[in-house]
């Protein structure tokens, strides 16, 4: 066991994927000699050469577009989009082709699109966004996000081995979060949520960067004698509704947490599922604690925008007091 950061776990996972399958390719902006702006691909070009790990021109649409072609030719592309806010030029390729190619042709596209996402790093505009709902909304894509180093390793292995395209969102504010693990860590299947902490009174459903925030809330709640169950979705699409519903059937109350704006955010899907499939057990409306319905604010204000333990506890209080 050693203390491993999420950045290191992802780096190791990529390295192992390159070792396991000679068809695995990694490319994107600055992933080569620099090792990526977050150093996630550090050392990979040196070890595997410029043919398998390479810098591309600065053009996200083409980075994803060539991934389609490479996948058709039999490669397993693992393109990197440098920042969440830079994925939009590639939106057309992802939505029109990556997601739908199989449906159109029967040919699988084993592409894993890595995207650092989320805020809380004091960055300038376009570097703190949470665009996961756009992609979860698109059938044909799988959308996953780890919350811990161990899950990051295992989930990325599953994503790269998957024959369908996966958008792999990396919670960049947790890149330096450490966990005592051995690498390689266990495989994490896509589509399986995890109970990060057991509890009985309110289910707090989170993913990516907000799992740690939910756990903080659960620790404070415990001191007040309130028991929160924290669910880490890990996979937004496919969604593990079974785990969510089982928890809500136990607690009768649910709070969904994410950084993306609440309006039309992924929490709406969770809330709708619970409201429909567990309607009769609800003792309070499903609450969403999420980003405000505004553009991601300047860094000075991001802590007021992002969900924090206090806001989660406030929603918990309201759920418990409801009736």
């Amino acid at each position: 066991m050693s203390s491993v950061t999420m950045a290191k776990a992802i780096n190791t996972s990529l390295r192992d994927a390159l070792r396991k399958n000679p068809k695995t390719l990694i490319f994107g902006e600055d992933v080569g000699p620099l090792g990526g702006v977050f150093r996630i691909t550090d050392g990979l070009q040196k070890e595997f050469g410029e043919d398998r790990v390479f810098d591309t021109p600065l053009a996200e649409s083409a980075i994803i577009g060539i991934s389609v072609g490479l996948a058709l030719k039999g490669f397993r592309p693992v393109p990197e989009i440098q920042f969440d806010g830079f994925i939009y030029p590639a939106f057309d390729q992802i939505v029109s082709h990556v997601a739908k190619y199989r449906n159109r042709s029967g040919v699988p596209l084993p592409i894993t699109i890595r995207v650092p996402f989320g805020g809380n790093i004091g960055a300038v505009e376009h570097h703190s966004e949470s665009p996961e709902a756009y992609f979860a909304h698109t059938a044909g894509l799988k959308v996953v996000t780890p919350a811990t180093p161990g899950d990051a390793y295992g989930l990325l292995q599953s994503a790269i081995e998957d024959d369908d395209p996966v958008v792999f969102f990396e919670p960049k504010s947790r890149y330096y979060l450490k966990e005592e693990i051995d690498l390689p860590s266990a495989a994490v299947p896509i589509g399986k949520a995890k109970i990060s902490r057991e509890g009985s009174q309110v289910s707090v459903i989170a993913y990516g960067p907000t799992v740690e925030t939910a756990l903080q809330a659960a620790r404070s709640a415990e001191q007040e004698g309130i028991s929160l169950e924290v669910i880490d979705l890990r996979s937004l699409s496919p969604l593990d509704t079974e785990t969510v519903l089982a928890s809500v059937r136990k607690t009768h109350r649910a709070v969904v947490v994410h950084e993306a704006p609440v309006f039309g955010g992924f929490g709406a899907e969770i809330a709708a599922r619970i409201s429909h499939d567990a309607f009769d057990v609800l003792e309070a409306p499903v609450a969403r604690v999420a980003g405000l319905n505004i553009p991601y604010p300047p860094a000075r204000f991001e802590k007021l925008y992002l969900p924090d333990a206090d806001r989660i506890l406030q929603a918990v209080d309201a759920a418990l007091a409801y009736g």
Binding site: A7, F38, G122, S173, Y176, D280, E283, R300, Q314, G323
Partner: protein, 400 residues
């Protein structure tokens, strides 16, 4: 002159720490604004940090090779007076693990939804489901939750005829002189529960008399040792023992699946007459209690029921009910009605001397009636008889 502590900023968007590579100053050095202070290595790059102050270096807070957390003190400088005073905090680069905003806090009170739809019944889905199960009409329940919302406790209270139903029964005189009494609250709950019982449960009653001589002797002995007990704990304890032998009596009929649900827990409902009407607090987990524990718990429940101080959890969840008949007056026994969804109710009459035949002779013996009503869907006459027989022989054998 002012002491200024410079804390390590987040030098590269989301970093949590940095390793000190080397100092470019020593304690006692004088520095100008922007003079190099030290070199640090982050996860992203090696960078030189320039001094934000002019002054004299007072103390260095880290050694080369050491890791410094973002926001931790790096260097303290006795600054010349022209330096801005307020520089304790790192301004922008606080990192993801940095201090909480300290501004937006958890609200002290929970924003309650206003009762804007005053005419509508406001209750969560679970509460509505519970009301359906318990046969409670939500329109008659006054909600005690935020915004007048009907809570789970309100429904549970209403189901046993307690709780939030505070409106008094009002009476009005009709033109023909008959009096019409509007039925609300506990009366209504009892009415509903009794209708449900006789209209859904085909039930019959069997009777027996038992010799209470030994029970009274046991009581006397307990009293002498400072534990005065009413007969009730002995009755409950005997019922529990009988139920263990005949678990079908501790069950309920599931209409939706036509199954018998035999309950694992033995939770004994105790019918208590209160000034507001009949209440049935529940002695939970009776199966694992001895007579003394039952006595203690029963006292709390009965007093609580009369004082109206019991919580909803203490008024629901019964699996079998025990009641008393004729504690005063000449009544010997009655035909108790089952408290749905239970299968069985046991009524005990008053203990008093009666003529009994003992060894061929008619003698006066302390004795009492027991009547047992059961759900005929679950229990036939033969089983009811076995259960009642077991109860009688148990009570007649009561040891001190």
């Amino acid at each position: 002159m002012a002491e200024e502590t410079f804390r390590l900023p987040d030098l590269g968007e989301g970093l949590t720490d940095a390793q000190l590579v080397s100092w470019r100053v020593q304690e006692g050095s004088t520095v100008e604004v922007n003079a190099p202070l030290c070199e640090v290595e982050t996860a992203k790059a090696v960078v030189v940090i320039p001094s934000p102050f002019r002054g004299t270096v007072r103390s260095l807070h880290a050694k080369p090779g050491e890791s410094v957390a973002v926001g931790a003190p790096l260097v303290t400088i006795t600054a010349s007076s022209d330096a801005p005073a307020d520089t304790e905090r790192t301004l922008v680069g606080y990192g993801p693990g940095g201090p909480e905003s300290g501004v937006r806090r958890r609200a002290r009170s929970v924003p309650g939804a206003a009762a804007d739809n005053a005419g509508d019944v406001r209750a969560a889905p679970f509460v509505r489901q519970l009301a359906r199960e318990k046969g409670v009409d939500l329109a008659t329940v006054t909600g005690t939750g935020p915004g007048g919302r009907i809570t789970r406790a309100d429904v549970e209270g209403a189901a046993v005829g307690e709780g939030s139903v505070s409106a008094p029964a009002s009476a009005s005189a009709a033109a023909d002189g008959d009096q019409r009494i509007s039925v609300v609250g506990i009366r209504k709950a009892i009415a509903r529960q009794m209708v449900r019982s006789v209209s859904t449960i085909p039930q019959f009653t069997e009777f027996a008399i038992f010799d209470a001589t030994r029970l009274l002797a046991a009581r006397a002995k307990a009293k002498a040792s400072g534990r005065p007990l009413t007969p009730l704990p002995y009755f409950v304890a005997a019922v529990v023992r009988a139920v263990r032998e005949y678990p079908l009596l501790n069950s309920s009929w599931d209409d939706t699946t036509d199954e018998i649900v035999v309950k694992r827990a033995i939770n004994v409902g105790l019918a208590v007459n209160t000034k507001n009407g009949l209440l049935v607090p529940v002695l939970k987990g009776a199966g694992s209690m001895d007579t003394n524990a039952i006595a203690e718990r029963a006292t709390h429940l009965i007093e609580g029921a009369r004082a109206g101080s019991l919580g909803p959890g203490e008024m629901s969840g019964g699996t079998i009910t025990v009641t008393n008949v004729g504690a005063s007056g000449p009544v010997e026994t009655g035909t108790p009605i089952i408290n749905p969804p239970e299968c069985c109710v046991v009524a005990f009459g008053a203990i008093r001397p009666r003529p009994m035949v003992v060894e061929g002779q008619v003698v006066a013996r302390e004795s009492a009636w027991i009547s047992v009503s059961v759900d005929h869907r679950i229990v036939d006459g033969a089983l009811a008889t076995e259960f009642l027989t077991r109860l009688v022989s148990d009570l007649e054998r009561t040891d001190a």
